[in-house]
């Protein structure tokens, strides 16, 4: 089977500053991968690089929730499937949402526990609610690869588990940048650890332990 993601000896930078060096990474369809590492190690740049190469098949959950504050939660989630409808239909939905779309959006919002906020202004939500809206948008998008940059950082542990489980059900291949070691061990099959823009470790989660990973984070985690 062809790999879902394949990067070979990729270098990437941000604003002209090299961040990633010689990254080779292959992810099979169906895999759940955690990208870990200290802040500044290149996790976000790696996700963005994957996104650039596979934009057509990726649902993205960016680190900042990237919502349009002035639009409702419904419209922000609906944005996940703008490519599937005609422009006219999209404009109509902006002004007068069809019942079918409301139903579809309510379903994904229900999964993240936000169905009561359907027509609330996105700007009025709390940080955690915004993050869950961003997750719902990716779920509605439904493309086979989900890239999540700290997709549960603003949620408590129970919610975080639930959201990661839902994303796993919805999308075939999952790549998450995570900083929570236990969550990563529990919810992914494979952990890729970045250090200074290089892959320092790439092993199945089952073969790793909290104690083994901890030293790689220094005093960033207490």
């Amino acid at each position: 089977m062809a790999a879902a993601v394949r990067l070979e000896a990729v270098n990437a930078g941000y604003n002209g500053v090299p961040v990633l060096h010689d990254i080779s990474l292959s992810i099979e369809p169906g895999e759940r991968v955690a990208i870990m590492g200290r802040s500044g190690a290149g996790k976000t740049t790696l996700l963005n690089t994957i996104y650039r190469h596979y934009a057509d098949s990726v649902a993205l959950i960016p680190q900042a929730s990237a919502l349009v504050a002035n639009l409702s939660v419904f419209h922000n989630v609906f944005m996940g499937c703008l490519d599937r409808h005609s422009t006219l239909y999209n404009l109509r939905t902006l002004i007068w949402p069809p019942a079918a779309e409301i139903k579809a959006v309510t379903r994904v919002l229900g999964a993240v526990g936000l169905e009561d906020k359907l027509f609330a202004r996105a700007g009025e939500l709390s940080g955690g609610q915004q993050q869950r809206t961003s997750v719902a948008r990716a779920m509605l998008n439904g493309r086979p690869i989900v890239l999540g940059d700290e997709p549960v950082s603003a949620l408590d542990r129970v919610q975080a588990r639930e959201v990661l489980r839902l994303l796993s059900e919805r999308h075939e291949t999952k790549v998450f940048a995570l900083h929570d070691i236990r969550l990563a061990l529990e919810h992914t099959d494979r952990i890729v650890l970045l250090e200074d823009g290089r892959i320092a470790l790439d092993e199945p989660s089952a073969a790793l332990s909290y104690e083994r990973l901890l030293p790689h984070f220094g005093d960033e985690l207490r």
């Binding site: 609906f78 005609s86 999209n90």
Partner: protein, 527 residues
Amino acid sequence: MRKSGFLPRLTYASTTWIFVLAAVLALPFADLAVSALHPGAEFARLLAGIVSPAFSAIEVWSIVWTVAFAVLGVAAGCTAGLVLAVFYDRSRLLRFGAAFLRSVHELFWALFLMQITGLSPATGILAIALPYTGIFAKVFAEFFEEADRSAENVLPQGASALSRFSFARLPVVAEQIKTYTLYRLECGMRSTLVLGFVGLPTIGFHLESYFKEGHYSEATALLLSFYVLIGTRRLWARPATLPALILVSFLVLPAAVGNSSLWANMARFFRHDIVPAPLRPDSPAHAHAWTAFGSWAWRIISQQMGPGALETLILGQIALVAAGALALLLYPVVSRRFLGRAGHYLGRAMLVVVRSTPEYMLAFLLLQLMGPSMLPAIIALSLHNGAIIAYLLGRQADQLQLRADAPKGASLYFYQTTPTLYGQFLAYVLYRWELILRESAIFGILGVKTLGYYVDAAISELRIDTAALLLVGVAVLSMSVDAFSRHLRRRLRIDGFPVRLSAAHDADQAQSPATYGGPAHAQQPVV
């Protein structure tokens, strides 16, 4: 040390001295006489009129039409400007077109449009809509450029451009567009008022005759009603009332004066009137048309455009420096740092008066009082712009974070606030230069021999071709000064500072860190 061009190394001080020196050198060429026989007596009559407004004389329909023209003109300009703003960064031609539209004053547009649409509502509405389209296009384009793109970046690949725009771009800047458009509606009402001075049935039409005949009580009443209209704008012009406002504005429009055919006028205007006389088919010089055209153009450029442009620059230079000096004197009076709450209220009051009093009307009034010279124009321009810059500086001074043992009074003024805000002050003044110049050109209609004088004369003699060439001169002068001002601000490294009145106003209203300006505010000296 970087040296470039003909200018010495620019510092805040050297820039200031160069501008002051230029204004001093301009003074001998400016006609500053007070030629009225009894200016004191006339002024006393004005004061007596101001304290006894004659409210029974208010021409209600002129107020209705002022609002209707402004609403429709601004709505049309806003819509067209929004469309242009979307493509603004993709087309140099479009940017140039927008710059041209806004560099020509609405009064000039009105004088020209009258040749086609006559004394009709269309003239009033288009005279506002055309320059405002240019302004809206530029400002909205800046909003889009500075807007948060993060939501747009996450959109699925393959969504159409219009879908992307309407979901992830327009809603992000909708709030700014709304606030700015409603702010511009106020400016639009000021502009429509002034259109009355050239014959459209707005408030200015009646003000002109009241001022001319010395009926100051009537003029005061009419003007007060206009202040009330502007002061209560927030109550009657809001997003929810806009559709009704636009509809009602359409319904109440006056009938056009005279009934001439629009198409016939347009054909005549574009095929004959605006074509340079030597190039017209019926020209006697038809055989050597281009030679004749050359000497025709040179005659206008050397005898009208040149002297007119010089006079415009002289007036603008003196008014600019006077406005700057006034602003520096006045800003402590409207700042909480110096006068506490009184400063706050004084500032608000000053802003309302300044924003509701068109410079053109002020110049017209002063002209009636003092007699024809450049002096009324200088006073009107420096009062208006000086007060606006003072208000803006006052707000900036309020926001400064001072140490607990900061000095007070004069020491605070000379050692703290003025030096700290000086770059910001220069940014405001240089930004206003182009606005002052635009207005200086238009004051020619009042008799000062700036470019507007020659444009007005040419139009009244129905030499539309001459007027059109002169108008190109107006646009070039205005755009050059704009470009030069931008260059200076870049060299002084003050190009990131906020300059617009609307921006300060939003921030003040919202009681929050400025809602406009994004990255620009990062460079503000102290926030």
